[in-house]
């Protein structure tokens, strides 16, 4: 464990970090541009191609950009040094962790999990800002049946970009910022198991973002975010940017997944047995664990697609013996687990904060764990419900309907866990807690509409319509993003040392949630009436519903801008936060603000779980005297709880 390393403090030596001292975001961009330019020139001359932006050239250029960026940020210094037989000295490790570097450490290949968490948060917000702007353009175009605000080419390009960027943003929105910043402290660790891999996973995403943004000038992604072949074979070089982006992202998520999983398996504090491990930790591990098998399939699909596009392959080309269904299977084998990669950690964050703001123990911890495990297990067996109407395997539609509908059972248990937790609680309606309530509203609608879509005949009618678009926005945005915003409001004081402006938080909350429901209830209506997805124009019949949706979307946009203002303003000037402003019992609230470099001076020993609300108190209020037998007995084996010190008992 890293704990052994830090007992003797070391004076910062000026040579610590070696070459890494000179590398940062600027050298990374320079490296990317230089290698990208070199790749462009070389591939262009080798191919003797008159077309400056042919698929081959774009593929090589973007790959070289990413490689140059990673070299420039210093991602390879460790492996190269190691190959040369030079290992890091302790002061190098401290430099890598960002010691005494102030703000500069956020722009370096820094290994401190807290720095990586903040970096992920900023990256996530940048992605949301971009994807959200595209959403506003889409909705503006759809404000009337033939608005001509966007031409069809631009519209299709934007729809694909919006989808992909939002999917990536929602995948990283919880496990990135909070899984990296909060989770290690929550389990009583000083850092992640593989700090350098942590920095690697973050900088790979940063390297990949310009590639996906470059798609905007390379003709966009006119295939929707699914990138279905053979439409993708016809697509402009924006599609190559898509492939490069997905391949890099798959590597990043594999690295992050291995790291987070290992951290949780091996670095939990002494005494933190599985039944004392906070539910958010389960959610994080479930999410990244599910991503480990899922994203390599997406990566494989893009490798095959690039063979088709640039090497004359025929994997997805029917006339050459290939099959478009191969692509859609690979895609949805990733695509459905991916939905739960997004949802589970967001719901787990809400399950983590609901006990705090209800002052109640988490209701049925075991049910929560079992249902997360059940969702994970089932989610890899449902992918073909996205393909009921594809004609691929009509005989399998019945079995896939079975597995899909079975997911409603563990998902339903998660609702019970939250409802049982608020039951007779002392509800503190902070912004994070309101996110829980918004989720209860939105996710019920998202879940029930999912049941219609799981039904094969109903899906034949609804597949490919706006109904589907509204449904998955209710799950991924209404439950997922809402949960992530709740998590942000909840952990903001710990991550920034300042309170998030509450007033702005509420204003944003209502603009976003009301706008959200207006937008997507309107979209359900036009979907039921028969409006297809991803259309630039539509029949007059759908005009009213679309107008309503667009107005709702503007309200979401206003709310998000308020949130952005609140985050920036509070981060800079907010009220200074106490170490534990919410009275929570998980370990991250026991460390001081600002959090020391390695979190804990003395590693904590855990003697109970973090949900023991009300347990040591005498029934002073007159509400508790008669405990029903069925409700009692849970706290018997939890041991003493030192007041104020929460779970921390002292060092080894």
């Amino acid at each position: 464990m890293t704990a052994a390393l830090v007992d003797q403090p070391v004076e910062p030596v000026s040579t610590a970090g070696g070459m890494l001292r000179r590398l940062n975001l600027v050298t990374a961009i320079a490296g990317g541009l230089i290698l990208g330019l070199a790749g462009w020139l070389i591939s262009h001359s080798l191919l003797q191609d008159d077309d400056l932006g042919s698929d081959q050239v774009v593929l090589v250029t973007l790959s070289c950009w990413a490689a140059g960026f990673m070299i420039g940020i210093g991602a390879l210094n460790g492996p190269i040094g190691w190959a040369l037989g030079r290992d890091l000295r302790h002061e190098d490790e401290l430099f890598l962790a960002g010691k005494d570097q102030g703000v500069a450490r956020y722009f370096r290949f820094t290994t401190d999990h807290k720095v990586v968490g903040i970096q992920y948060l900023v990256v996530t917000m940048v992605l949301f800002a971009f994807g959200g702007t595209l959403a506003m353009l889409i909705r503006t175009n759809l404000i009337s049946p033939h608005s001509h605000f966007l031409n069809p080419q631009t519209y299709n390009a934007i729809v694909g970009l919006h989808g992909l960027i939002m999917i990536i943003a929602t995948i990283i929105m919880v496990t990135g910022p909070f899984g990296n910043f909060i989770m290690p402290i929550m389990i009583g660790a000083r850092d992640m198991a593989f700090p350098r891999l942590n920095a690697l996973s973050l900088w790979l995403i940063v390297a990949a973002i310009p590639t996906i943004l470059s798609a905007a000038v390379l003709g966009g992604i006119p295939t929707g975010w699914v990138g279905y072949a053979p439409l993708a074979d016809q697509a402009p070089p924006g599609m190559d940017a898509y492939s490069v982006f997905i391949i890099i992202f798959a590597v990043s998520s594999a690295v992050a997944g291995a790291n987070i999983t290992t951290t949780v398996l091996t670095m939990r504090a002494r005494g933190m047995s599985w039944n004392r491990t906070p539910i958010f930790v389960y959610g994080t591990v479930a999410s990244v664990g599910l991503a480990i098998p899922a994203f390599p399939l997406f990566m494989a699909s893009q490798v095959l697609l690039q063979v088709d596009r640039t090497q004359g392959g025929q994997f997805f080309v029917a006339s050459g013996g290939g099959s478009p269904w191969l692509y859609s299977n690979l895609f949805w084998l990733m695509g459905h687990p991916e939905v739960y990669v997004i949802l589970i950690p967001a719901l787990a964050a809400l399950m983590e904060l609901t006990p705090v703001f209800s002052r109640r123990p988490l209701f049925s911890f075991n049910a929560a764990v079992i249902s997360i495990a059940g969702i994970v297990g089932l989610s890899i067996m449902v992918w073909a419900h996205h393909m009921y109407a594809s004609g691929w395997a009509p005989d399998l539609n019945g079995p896939f309907m079975l597995t899909t509908e079975m997911i409603s059972v563990p998902t339903g248990l998660l609702f019970l866990v939250i409802l049982g937790t608020v039951w007779r609680g002392r509800i503190w309606t902070t912004v994070p807690m309101m996110a829980t309530y918004a989720m209860l509203w939105n996710f019920i609608i998202g879940g029930i509409t999912g049941i219609y879509l799981s039904d094969v005949p109903a899906d034949y009618a609804l597949h490919g319509s706006m109904f589907v678009t509204a449904h998955f926005h209710y799950t991924l945005m209404g439950a997922g993003l809402t949960g992530a915003i709740g998590a942000l409001a909840y952990w903001f004081p710990k991550m920034t040392g300042r309170m998030l402006n509450e007033r702005a938080g509420y204003i944003s909350f209502w603009f976003v949630q009301i706008g959200f429901n207006v937008t997507f209830l309107g979209m359900f209506a036009v979907g039921l009436a028969g409006q297809p997805r991803r259309v630039v124009t539509y029949a007059q019949l759908f005009a009213a519903g679309n107008f309503v949706s667009t107005i709702g979307a503007y309200s979401i946009g206003i709310g998000m801008l308020v949130l952005l203002y609140a985050v920036i303003n509070s981060w800079l000037h907010g009220q200074v936060a106490p170490a534990n402003p919410w009275g929570a019992k998980t370990l991250e609230w026991t460390v001081p603000n600002p959090i020391p470099l390695e979190n804990f001076e003395v590693l904590p020993v855990v003697t109970s779980d973090a949900y023991g609300y009300g347990e040591e108190d005498e029934p002073a209020s007159g509400i508790d005297p008669e405990r029903e037998p069925v409700l009692a007995g849970a706290s018997a084996d939890l041991g003493p709880r030192p007041v104020g010190a929460s779970n921390v008992e002292g060092g080894p």
Partner: protein
């Protein structure tokens, strides 16, 4: 019971809470059931086939089945938000119970039963909507998607070709669907049928139109620049009119 004090006993208060939630649950359930009966099927419009009729009744039935579930979740949420709300930061903790075996078990059992119901309903509906057309002597129509038009041809009527779909009333139809380029999706909106048009293979779907009129055919899979314009009409006409249309276009019946 006779000695009612001003402050109700805790047990009494808990019973009242449960009763209030039950009323709220009932009220919300009724509202949602009314919504289920009136709204989803109505939004889908008048059905033009038994398949669409089955889909619309599925929407209604599933909505009704889901109503008490949604109502229960919302009832507890709304009640807790108003009646268990603390003003500002709570000064005391709530009751410390960590679960309730019977409640968890019944929740799991009820949701499993609902799940089994959905499955059986869906399987029965699948059987009833697919088998009739395949059983009797159906009309065969070849549907070809290409960027960005639909073409229909009638192989048993002398290969009559048209960019609009004509169907005789009450005769089962089997569509053999394919594509010349990318994936499209053949969707007859008011008949509730849809199947992808894939290059290189033929997929099938079937329906028995049982309503005269003109209905919408749209492409339901993004297929390139003019995907939004890839729509045409399905005309359901009397068998005699259908025969006349076929002959008019050089075919034979």
């Amino acid at each position: 019971m006779s000695a009612e004090s001003i402050v109700a006993s805790p047990k009494r208060r808990r019973r009242d809470e449960v009763r209030h939630i039950a009323w709220l649950w009932l009220g919300l359930t009724i509202l949602l059931v009314l919504f289920s009966i009136w709204v989803p099927a109505r939004l889908m419009g008048p059905p033009a086939s038994p398949t669409m009729r089955a889909v619309e009744s599925t929407m209604t039935v599933f909505s009704i089945a889901a109503s008490p579930v949604a109502a229960l979740v919302w009832a507890i949420a709304i009640y807790s938000l108003f009646r268990w709300k603390s003003r500002g930061e709570p000064t005391e903790d709530g009751p410390p119970f960590r679960g309730n075996g019977p409640v968890t078990a019944s929740w799991a059992i009820v949701s499993s039963v609902l799940c089994v119901f959905l499955l059986i309903w869906g399987l029965a509906e699948m059987t009833s909507t697919t088998s009739p057309a395949e059983a009797s002597n159906p009309l065969v129509v070849n549907v070809t998607g290409q960027q960005w038009v639909w073409t229909f041809s009638y192989p048993d009527q002398g290969d009559v070709e048209s960019d609009q779909l004509y169907l005789p009333l009450n005769r089962p139809v089997v569509f053999h669907v394919s594509s010349r380029d990318v994936i499209h999706s053949f969707w007859v909106v008011q008949m509730g049928i849809k199947v992808d048009a894939n290059p290189g293979v033929t997929t099938k779907t079937s329906v028995t139109p049982d309503k005269l009129g003109v209905f919408d055919i749209r492409c339901a899979e993004l297929c390139g620049l003019r995907h939004a314009d890839m729509e045409t009409s399905a005309h359901v006409v009397n068998p005699a009119d259908f025969a006349a249309w076929i002959t008019q276009n050089g075919g034979h019946t």
